[in-house]
């Protein structure tokens, strides 16, 4: 499968990473190789196979509705890169 620059940039945008133009060529080549390697799987006809959505084969694994906070705010904020008072603080995002 051919990957063009637009596809690469779109993926980069979705992953929120920046790609230096000097890296583009090499990354496109890598991606094409990875995808052709995975495309090997297309040779198998899976038309009649139901997709697996879960590896455990468990059904109806549920919990009862009992409330319990398992983490304190202090613990939760401890590993945050930045905080402000009781809030997580992140670079400005506007949708």
């Amino acid at each position: 499968m051919k990957i063009n620059r637009e596809t690469l940039q779109k993926l980069a945008h979705l992953a929120r990473i920046e790609i230096d133009p000097s890296e583009e060529k090499g990354l496109i080549k890598d991606m094409e190789q990875i995808i052709s390697w995975v495309e090997k799987l297309d040779e198998l006809d899976t038309g009649q196979v139901k997709p697996i959505t879960n590896m455990s084969f468990e059904v109806n694994a549920m919990r009862e509705d009992t409330a319990q906070n398992t983490l304190t705010r202090t613990e939760a904020l401890k590993n945050a890169p930045d905080r402000s008072g009781d809030f997580f603080k992140v670079p400005k995002v506007l949708d």
Partner: protein, 484 residues
């Protein structure tokens, strides 16, 4: 509804309802509104590596109940899907939702428009998902604050087909949905606090043409604002069409102060959510027994109850509508008529003095001091003529509210409100009054029939309101006529 210039309006709604479970949908954190920031969180909610979501059974139950209430087909084999997007209000980088197997499909709801026309609003689906946290953008600062208390709160999203044609239909639909979720007890449906939220997809087209570009309007925190936002959007789109301009398919936010909508700037040129099955949650298989159990728990729903109030108890449609507005009022009515068959009288009392009292005190019927049986006793006193309606509503009712444990009849005696049914006493009073006004009696006999009202007033004054007005009126006329 046709907009100006004969455009047909097409509206579809997406209603998010927060489920009133104790805990969140995929973790045990407390599910409650308000609270201090980041109080109700867990390693699952803040998306620490290695954590796994486990679904709350109650949330599934609630979603199924809503589906049953709206006549949906319940999907029996369910999986969840990941909707991928980067936004700090959901730190996993995706929302767990249902894309391919919504828990309920089809179904719908009938609304009755102001003009009496009925309209069935079809649903596309109802699916289960998790709510996101809240981000606060501080004006002029280069950072955003995040509170994850709401992240992971269970939601159902109810999606209608694009079959609504007027803002009125949208408002009626929302009011009915809110009533149903409250009857089911699955949410408080508070739009101001965001436990029920509505996005409206609005477009216009010439009749018979394909659907126009769809504009999604967000941020309406009341049914009234949903109406205002849709009205504004119809006008705006019609204006654009009239000037020959293009209507862009976009998301717009409603501004309640100005009453208009503005386009939301979006960095995302194209939303690509890359849905795929959520591998961390095992599939759900809903069997007959599960559904039967929930069916058995279902209360009678507002529309059924309204019909029953009209058909079984002969209440006017208006009364039935008012009484079924809230489940608790309807229950109170049903409890009261367990003690009396004067259905309409109970309705009148509930819609009149009781409602006024509740409004005045700002309380709900659950906090109403008088037990249904007591109210029925009070009504019985009026029905039997023991206490006049006026005395009952203006004095006895108030007294019983202060003394809810005392018997209605004893209280009436204590307050001296018991009407004398004794014709001898009434007759004596009538004779006394007539004796004091010989000229008026003459005038009556000469044809001034209207004077009975004046005699009535005098007699009642003497009796202090404790005699039966009907009987009194009868005796006054009888006595006067006997003097001819």
């Amino acid at each position: 509804m046709m907009s100006r210039d004969g455009y047909e309006v097409v509206i579809g709604l997406e209603v998010h309802v927060q489920l009133a479970t104790e805990s969140k949908i995929f973790s045990s954190d407390v599910n409650s509104f308000g609270g201090n920031p980041n109080e109700n969180i867990s390693a699952v909610t803040i998306a620490h590596p290695g954590t796994l979501p486990l679904i709350n059974k109650k949330a599934v139950d609630y979603a199924i109940k809503m589906g049953l209430a709206l006549g949906c087909t319940i999907n029996r084999e369910l999986i969840f899907d990941r909707k991928n997007y980067f936004y700090p209000d959901l730190p996993k980088g995706y929302q767990i939702t249902q894309d391919t197997t919504p828990i309920c499909v089809g179904g719908g709801l009938e609304v009755v428009r102001e003009d009496g026309q009925k309209k069935f609003i079809e649903l596309t689906k109802i699916h289960l998902e998790e709510d996101a946290g809240k981000s606060m953008h501080v004006e002029g600062e280069d950072y955003t604050l995040v509170d994850l208390n709401r992240a992971g709160v269970p939601l159902i999203e109810i999606v209608t087909e694009p079959v609504l044609r007027t803002p009125e239909e949208a408002a009626l639909f929302l009011a009915e949905i809110r009533k149903i979720i409250r009857y089911l007890g699955i949410s408080d449906g508070n739009m101001e606090e965001g436990s029920m939220r509505c996005d409206a997809n609005v477009s216009i087209r010439k009749a018979g043409e394909p659907l126009g570009s769809k504009v999604e309007v967000k941020n309406m925190n009341s049914i009234r604002n949903v109406t205002r936002a849709i009205l504004f959007e119809i006008e705006r789109q019609t204006d654009l069409k009239q000037c020959g301009k293009t209507i862009f398919s976009e998301t717009r936010t409603f501004n309640p102060t100005r009453g208009d909508t503005t386009g939301m700037r979006t960095k995302e040129e194209l939303n690509d959510y890359r849905y795929f099955p959520e591998p961390d949650i095992s599939p759900l298989s809903i069997d007959e027994e599960w559904i039967r159990r929930l069916q058995a728990e279902m209360p009678e729903l507002p529309q059924q109850l309204k019909a029953r109030f009209e058909n079984e108890y002969g209440l006017p449609a208006y009364d039935a509508g008012v009484l079924t507005e809230e489940k608790e009022i309807a229950d109170y009515f049903l409890d009261t008529i367990g003690h009396t068959t004067s259905y309409k009288a109970v309705s009148n009392w509930l819609m009149g003095p009781v409602k006024s009292y509740l409004n005045e005190k700002g309380i709900s019927i659950q906090a109403f001091p008088l037990a249904p049986a007591r109210l029925a006793d009070l009504l019985a006193l009026v029905q039997s003529g023991t206490v006049s309606h006026t005395a009952a509503s203006q004095q006895l009712f108030g007294y019983l509210l202060e003394h809810p444990d005392e018997s209605a009849e004893e209280s009436a005696r204590k307050l001296n409100l018991v009407q004398e049914g004794n014709p001898d006493r009434i007759l004596a009073l009538v004779e006394e009054v007539l004796g004091q006004h010989p000229d008026k009696v003459k005038a009556y006999l000469n044809g001034k029939k209207a004077l009975t009202g004046m005699f009535m007033g005098e007699v009642m004054k003497k009796a202090g309101g404790t005699i039966d007005p009907k009987e009194t009126s009868r005796l006054i006329i009888e006595t006067l006529e006997s003097k001819r």
